[in-house]
Amino acid sequence: MEASLRAQRTAALLIFAFLSLLAVSSSAAQEIQILNAERRIDLSSQIAIVFLTLKVENTGKAAASEVLLSFPPTEADHLAEVKAQAASGKKRKKTHVPLDVKPTDVPDAPKGAKCFRIALLNPLSPGETSTIEVLYMLTHSMEPFPAEISQSEPQLVYYRDSAYILSPYRIKQQTTFIKTPSTNVLSFSRVEPTNRAGMELKYGPYEDRPAYSFSPVLVHFENNNPFAVVEELVREVEISHWGNLQITEHYTLAHGGAKLKGVFSRVDYQSRPGASGVSSFKNLLARLPARVHSVYYRDEIGNISSSRLRTDSRKSELEIEPRYPLFGGWKSTFVIGYGLPLEDFLFESTDGKRYLNFTFGCPLSGTVVDKLTVKVVLPEGSKDPSAVVPFPVEQHMETKYSYLDVVGRPVLVLEKKNVVPEHNTLFQVYYSFNPVFMLAEPLMLVSTVFFLFAACVAYLHIDVSIRKR
């Protein structure tokens, strides 16, 4: 009895504290309002790409140095990347300056909402307006419904969002455009005014919505684009100072769309390619750096012969086919490996350190990587490795023993979840290395052979028999 009373009291206290906090911070947040917001959601691939253009006005008295963004909890887990840039100037002479985006906690945000803070270049003085463009990507945000389809059916998906932009600020006017991959839209929620024209749905314009307005909408439409999901990708980048950069990529690929129900008929698949298995995919394109050599494509039971490599002076494209076409729910694993000339990727920094400059993300185009592990295997004897990655990643060190290693090679492991093609940016790994270590292994081999011969010579010249002949 007493316990419950105490609990009640604490709860009441907490609520009071929360409310007071809310009052304080919301008053702070209210100092900014959004004059005009336009959101364009592109659902034509498996990744929902959202362009958000905000025209922000400082209505407060103090200068505002940052603008907050918030995402509903359903989107927060699927958020792969948020980028912001400040746009200035008129249409033709528009200039874009990237802005810093950092996750933050906003106390008065609805439960589960995730907020980001965009740091403005110049603090927004009272009364001033500024235009911010935000790009964010959502993975696994389209839910197949029906969850199981047969081979001849198209893939239908649900997309859930809010008709109003979830924002910590009051929005004067807002519009949302949703672009679907086809004209086949089975249903969509109406939050008037709502229009549909061809492949585009238009929600809005809505006038004067208070902060944290939310109105769920559901769009049910056909999306037959390959839902190629790499569930796990381990990229191993091995540096050899003898002039080679060896990359080995282990893929666990899955079709993340609607599961195939019942039979897979090869007759239908082969004879009616347009009508059968439309949501399945059978080939993927890997964009590799130029001057790639010794490319292989295999899995645990041997070489996979269905691949094609095209190279030119600027890039290489490897077109791969998994062993079988992937239908919904099917999985496949494979390994891609290739070598690259070291001089294209390894440089010396001004302080005498060496650094590797390499792309981070998955080279397969149009795929989502649930878990990406990049292992940079440094040469034996290198010291103080440190990575510079333009987005947050988890890091730790390992040791790997490869050809004739004695102390092992330091391995810098970078891990990131929920990776989209947008993450294919360069990252750097700095380390110091003494070139003398390059000679360790050849010297070891030479001395082994030398001692072998010496032992042979010694054996032939020493009489080891007990009895003298």
């Binding site: 019942g262 008929s265 039971i301 041997g302 062993r323 079988y324 729910g329 694993t333």
Partner: protein
């Protein structure tokens, strides 16, 4: 290339004493270099499969060995001995540690471990792929040693060079052919070498090594019984021909004692080393050699007269005892149904045995007797050189050369019974051909030399003793011409034909890994048929890890190794009944087949179908064996039901039993809709070259879940049991026992 010409450099030793040692050293170095080159040749000629295809394990049995090696490298030796494999022979399982010859896996596992402890990161697969080529290099060196013991280093080098590239051996030891024979031939030849070495030296050191080599052979291959029968035969031959010596005793007695003790350490052999009839000959000869040794000993200490008395006394008493013992032995042996012999050994003694009693052994193509062309294909020109080699071995006949003669005679017989044992013949043929070639060169060059010398010495003094010794001195002109001819023949025939043939055979005939097929399209491009791995990969990624897959036993090893799924039967055909059950299911109508498979918890059925691309060794062509093996255990499956007038056909003339059996349905289901067959008409089977007999049928109890790109492998899923509807007649589906119970009540038995 180590051609026979250079090989003769070894034994030429007729010069001054000073230059002799130098020349010997020089010859030794040359011989060493040639041996190294032979090793390189033996290794590299077997790499065609890797270059033309890829570094991959071949065929069926190697996949099992590969899987065992993976287990060994992952779990260690003790887990390996205790490994009970539940992935195969469901629901029986198989005790792997006690039923495999562990030599090969232990060898590869050791290599892998050593290499990895040196931080050379080779995968288990790579080690397995290259084990066979490495050991064939070892085998050629062993052949050199053996032939050197018999006829000198020249013959040895020739034999080694021939063994390095004899097609018969290449066929079993190309890179990727990771089978017991790969290491066993080396072990076989090396054991024989150590036996001959002991016989020539009488050294206990070599006798011990011989027992160890024999142990390695026992570990490696069931063919070790060839050794344990051939050596006693040779010992017996030596005793009968009055060649008994203490060296023979040293060579034989330790081998039997140590060898048998060591052999029984191998779990798969165990007490078989003393219990089965295969080993009986060695013990009998062991007794005989002791009796003979005793007789020689007594003969040595007694005067001739006393000895005669002793002989008559012992013989009359001993004969009675012997008769009694032999009678008991015969009774014991005869009481067992197979007379104490295993099925495969009996097949060797009676070539018609398997086809009469064990269809499983007879159904394997490599257990068939070979045809004449296969002799030429496999050992080529060696077939003609062997008789010359035998003659050379008789001049003079020594203990060791008599062994080689015995070896070739027995192996020729065995190879005539089973095409697989051509492999045992290959080293013998190489050794004898090497001897033949080298002896021919020896005789001819010697006669040229002697003629020259005689011409110089003819005035000084005639040497009658020398000419008497050298009976084989030919006239100069004849010998020069003969040498030239031989060189020419050697150049043209041996080098061009043998090598071209061997290289061709190595590259074309024996390098195909059989899981990947290729064909050249009209525009010269290479078309790859990778359907098997496509299917296995699909199974491994898209089915539950504990699902059971039923297929004919040929694909069992591959399914467990590549797809990691449980199979009912595999290539280790130890349980005939189980295989017959699968055979019966495949040859039953759909419903009965479903019941059989369901009672065995099978979820997927895999069939191999070549009708679309024309792949001849598919399940329809193997189907009659399924009927035969199934019918052998379950008599309601009758072979004539599947044949129309004794002919096996699948077109409209086929019997209804054939057209309704599961194998037919699963193979041809919807294949008549394939669009690529416009020219051939609908439902055309490219292997059988006919239009199929039954089209547009539906499956009631199975559903297609996967078919590979070229239709070569088709996987079906058993449909789930239908819900029972109240009031309707109950369907007897649950299990076999239920259906047989229903039978009693007068219902139709699904098994008939």
């Amino acid at each position: 290339m180590a051609s026979p010409e250079s090989a003769v450099n070894g034994p030429t030793m007729t010069a001054g004493a000073a230059s002799k040692s130098l020349r010997n050293a020089f010859g030794g170095v040359i011989a060493f270099i040639i041996l190294v080159l032979i090793g390189v040749l033996a290794f590299s000629i077997r790499l065609f499969s890797v270059i033309k295809y890829e570094s991959v394990i071949h065929e069926f049995d190697p996949y099992f060995n590969y899987r065992v090696t993976q287990f060994l490298s992952k779990n260690g030796i003790y887990d390996f001995w205790n490994w009970f494999d539940d992935r195969t022979w469901y629901p029986l399982g198989r005790v792997i540690g006690g039923t495999v010859y562990p030599g090969l896996t232990l060898t590869a596992g050791t290599i892998w471990k050593v290499v990895n402890s040196l931080n050379i990161p080779l995968s288990v697969e790579t080690v397995c792929v290259f084990t066979a080529p490495i050991f064939s290099a070892f085998a050629s060196w062993a052949a050199y040693l053996l032939t050197k013991e018999v006829k000198g280093p020249g013959a040895g080098l020739t034999a080694a060079a021939l063994l390095a590239m004899v097609p018969s051996y290449i066929s079993r030891s190309v890179a990727g052919s990771y089978d017991n024979e790969a290491v066993a031939i080396f072990a076989l030849v090396f054991t024989f070498y150590l036996y001959i070495k002991t016989l020539n030296t009488g050294s206990l050191f070599y006798a011990t090594l011989n027992a160890l080599a024999y142990f390695y052979m026992v570990c490696s291959w069931g063919g070790y019984t060839f050794i344990i029968n051939l050596i006693p035969m040779h010992v017996l031959l030596c005793i009968v021909t009055g060649r008994y010596s203490s060296r023979l005793y040293i060579a034989y007695a330790p081998l039997v004692v140590l060898g048998t003790l060591l052999a029984s350490l191998v779990p798969v052999v165990g007490f078989n080393a003393v219990l089965t009839s295969e080993h009986f000959a060695s013990f009998l000869v062991f007794i005989i050699i002791h009796v003979v040794a005793l007789a020689y000993y007594i003969k040595g200490i007694l005067s001739p007269k006393m000895f005669k008395v002793a002989v008559t006394l012992v013989v009359s008493a001993g004969l009675a005892v012997c008769c009694a013992v032999i009678a008991i032995l015969i009774a014991v042996v005869a009481s067992s149904p197979t007379k104490g012999w295993s099925g495969r050994s009996l097949t060797l003694l009676d070539p018609t045995y398997a086809s009469k009693y064990i269809p499983i052994i007879a159904s394997v193509s490599e257990h068939q007797p070979p045809t004449w062309p296969s002799y030429f294909m496999d050992i080529n020109v060696l077939a003609f050189l062997v008789p010359a080699g035998i003659i050379a071995c008789f001049m003079p006949l020594t203990d060791s050369s008599s062994f080689v003669i015995l070896y070739i005679v027995t192996s020729v017989y065995f190879s005539g019974v089973m095409v697989r044992l051509m492999l045992v013949l290959a080293p013998a043929a190489c050794i004898l051909s090497g001897i033949a070639l080298s002896e021919a060169f020896n005789v001819l060059t010697r006669s040229i030399k002697n003629r020259k010398k005689e011409k110089e010495n003819v005035e000084k003094k005639p040497t009658p003793s020398k000419t008497e010794k050298r009976l084989l001195v030919l006239p100069l002109e004849a010998s020069v011409i003969a040498v030239l001819l031989l060189v020419l023949l050697g150049a043209f025939y041996v080098v061009f034909s043998v090598q071209v043939h061997c290289v061709w055979a190595a590259a074309e005939a024996y390098s195909a890994p059989s899981i990947v097929l290729t064909s050249h399209s009209n525009d010269g491009g290479l078309h790859v048929f990778d359907d098997f791995r496509e299917a296995y990969s699909w199974l491994s990624h898209n089915t539950d890890v504990d699902d059971k897959v039923a297929s004919w036993w040929d694909y069992g090893y591959q399914t467990t190794a590549m797809a990691n799924r449980t199979v009912l039967v595999d290539n280790n055909t130890w349980n005939n009944t189980h295989i017959a059950t699968v055979g019966t299911a495949m040859s039953s109508p759909e419903k009965q087949a479903w019941e059989i498979f369901h009672s065995l918890d099978v979820k997927y059925v895999l069939v191999v179908f070549g009708g679309v691309v024309g792949y001849p060794s598919d399940d329809i062509n193997k189907f009659l064996w399924m009927v035969r093996i199934g019918g052998g255990v379950f008599p309601h499956i009758k072979e004539p039901d599947y044949l129309r007038d004794g002919q096996y056909r699948i077109d409209a003339q086929a019997t209804p039993t054939m057209l309704n059996c599961l194998m037919y349905k699963l193979s041809y289901f919807r294949s008549d809709f394939i669009p690529i067959h416009k020219t051939d008409g609908k439902g055309f089977d490219r292997v059988r070259r006919t239009e199929i007999g039954k089209k547009h049928f539906k499956l009631t109890h199975f559903e297609e879940v996967f078919t590979t790109h070229h239709w070569m492998v088709r996987i079906y899923k058993l449909k789930p049991q239908r819900n029972r509807i109240r009031g309707k007649t109950k369907k007897s589906k649950s299990s076999r026992s239920v259906s047989s119970k229903r039978d009693v009540r007068g219902k139709r038995n699904p098994w008939h």
